[in-house]
Amino acid sequence: MNIRPMISALRRHKTASLLIVLEIALSCAIICNALFMVVERLDRLNQPGGVAQDQLLQIQLAGTGDQDNAAAMTREDLATLRAISGVEGATLTNQVPFSGSAWDTSLALSPDQEHHTLMAAMYLGSEGFLDVMGLNLIAGRDFAADEYQDFAAVMSATDTSKLHSPILISREAADRLFPDGTALGKTVYTANIPLTIVGIIDVLARPYQSEGNWSYSIVLPLRTTYAEGSYALRVADPGRRNDILAAATSALERIDPNRIVLNQRTYEDIRTEHFSSDRAMVWLLVVVCAALLVVTALGVVGLASFWVTQRTRQIGVRRALGATRGQILRYFQAENFLLTSAGIALGMLLAYALNQVLMTRYELPRLPLAYLPAGAVVLWLLGQAAVLWPARRAASVPPAIATRGA
């Protein structure tokens, strides 16, 4: 097919051609970046927590009035919870991954280091923490029974210089502190308190993303009471977890009806809630992309049918001179391909520029180049689909029209 008559035809419709090129370019730029953001958000949604995803439950209570017997009542609570059928284990923790606000602590390699190496989420775990949470220990050991201390006793210590503790640490935090991989057995410091790394956990996510990080965390063998921490339960059968959650909550309420249930939820609910705005943003971006594609397609249909109407006689002449229906159809398809290609070329530049702006203003990472051809293919397909109807109308123009006085 000869491309020159096509170009000279387009030259006679400079404004309309430019408009369609511009529209496709803008759509291309927005869609490339929007798709990229969708993928980014989906990545966030799939952020691993490191815990037993579908078996974990959390119940958080608050006492009213004096809580002098909190430790004794916590022991009673734990015994009750462990006795519920279907419960594999129960423990106390001050927080769970993705639950929102966090207890953080700074970690440094020496007590007098000018600026800490990293901030880590500080999990306070009672006996059984590792098993109940379903964490994967990849090196070292779990805490020994005599290493657990009462959180309240530690908090009321008058001389903090005598405090020390073993800790478990997440792999990423360990790698950041000791890039040569020798974290096990080393001592790190939170302010002036030495902490000895006895084990490394594969993944233990933070309650929320902080300074771009999800997975710097440590576990301290500190026993909390229900008043300071919350109960974590692991169920054997994920299908029964909601029943067990209700049973466990009412069992706790029976022990002391004056306590208030702050939270009773499954880990999956916690995750879902934490990422709800990301999920909403994904939907929004997808809907906007779809709307953009529809509007762009309508624009193509509108202009192409205008051109077909305008060139009816010209098409008739070509048909009378021997052009087949297929040739006419392909002419309009090729014309659309040409315009779309120009739009895509311009669109890629725009997409890149837009990404630069987003990078500086919204801390978005650089757009991977793979998104550009993906966007291009989408728009080429769209253009061809949109032009099909007007092009077929053009192909059906009878040759006889050339002989009529129009």
Partner: protein, 434 residues
Amino acid sequence: MFNYYLELALRSFRRNRVLTALMVLAIALGIGASMTTLTVFYVLSGDPIPHKSRQLFNVQLDPRPLAGFQPGAEPSDQLTRFDAETLLREAKAPRQAMMTGGSGAIQPNTTTLRPFIAQFRYTTADFFSMFDAPFGFGQGWSADDDGARARVAVISKSLNDRLFAGANSVGETLRIDGNALRVVGVLEDWTISPRFYDLSTSRYGNREEVFIPFATAIDLKLSHQGSVSCHGREVANDTTALNAPCTWIQYWVELPAAAQVADYRSYLDNYSSQQRAAGRYERPPNTRLRDVMSWLDHKNIVPGDVRLQLWLAFGFLVVCLVNTVGLLLAKFLRRSGEIGVRRALGASRRAIFTQYLVEAGAIGLAGGLLGLGVSYVGLWMVRQQPVGYAGLAYLNLEMLLLTFVLAVLASVLAGLLPAWRASRVAPAIQLKSQ
């Protein structure tokens, strides 16, 4: 003339129903999306206390150790208890208040209600007058009550409704975590959104139900809620202690005159120097005194996602407009014959131009009307989202008017080029080819 053009436009719409519908739909979608995001943006970036936002200032000091100090870097967002109490005692502003958030269990006096958790605010006497909190019954406590750690409380309207059935409860007893407080005031409905005075916990929707003197809360060891940041070389096991190296208190001052603002700034710098001389501070004076709007701006009150959505919607609107330009061009030029006849019969270029611009404007108005519907649906969808500001996303009169202005303006803008091209149609050629 205008009416005639409008009639011509309507006739043209009837001839090209599908094309017209497409254009109206495209504009409606673009306008609807833009108005939805713009309304959310407007709501979120609004002034929470318009008549006073220029007189209320947030105080920031920098009590952290020298390590990591960079000149010009931002000081801590909150104050230590020691600094807040000292500033409050020295009282260099006409009004000032220190405050922090908390929570605890409320134990109703009746047996029919079970205990429940409520949000508290621990603050000092000037809080209510500074922030214009409206009282339904009674009033706030006095500075003497602060000093005497009086067991008093001001409660919200909703709590008063819940506990005392909306009656005047001044003088009644409120039981919190086993402590008895005397109600001295009941607020009217009071919404401050965003809750600018403390952005460290939930920013929208004021759910604080009980206001208690700060000293009383410390005395009763009520639990603190909000961010705490400690900077000492040694671990602080009681972060709320007077001398704990931890920042957790918001401090606001009211300074009605510009001169007072300048004075207060130098007072803060002097205070920092004194503290440094005394060995409490290590850093050179690094203070900030921001009024409400600059404080909100500093704290990035509008979430990044909302800004992104706004840009996305306007990008979408631009595409819709380019699309409309193309379609209008096609539509107008298809009527070249008609234009030729009109021109030959004496219509000026200007008349043709106006006629087509009116047609474009009419499409815009229709698009705006439909776009309004789209915005209502869009905002309804925003309100279904689990975000703190969801309940605020309503279209107000200003936004309603803006919708129409934007729609008509956008479509007239989109119509300029096609109308101009239409007015350039040469009558002779059109007539000849017919």
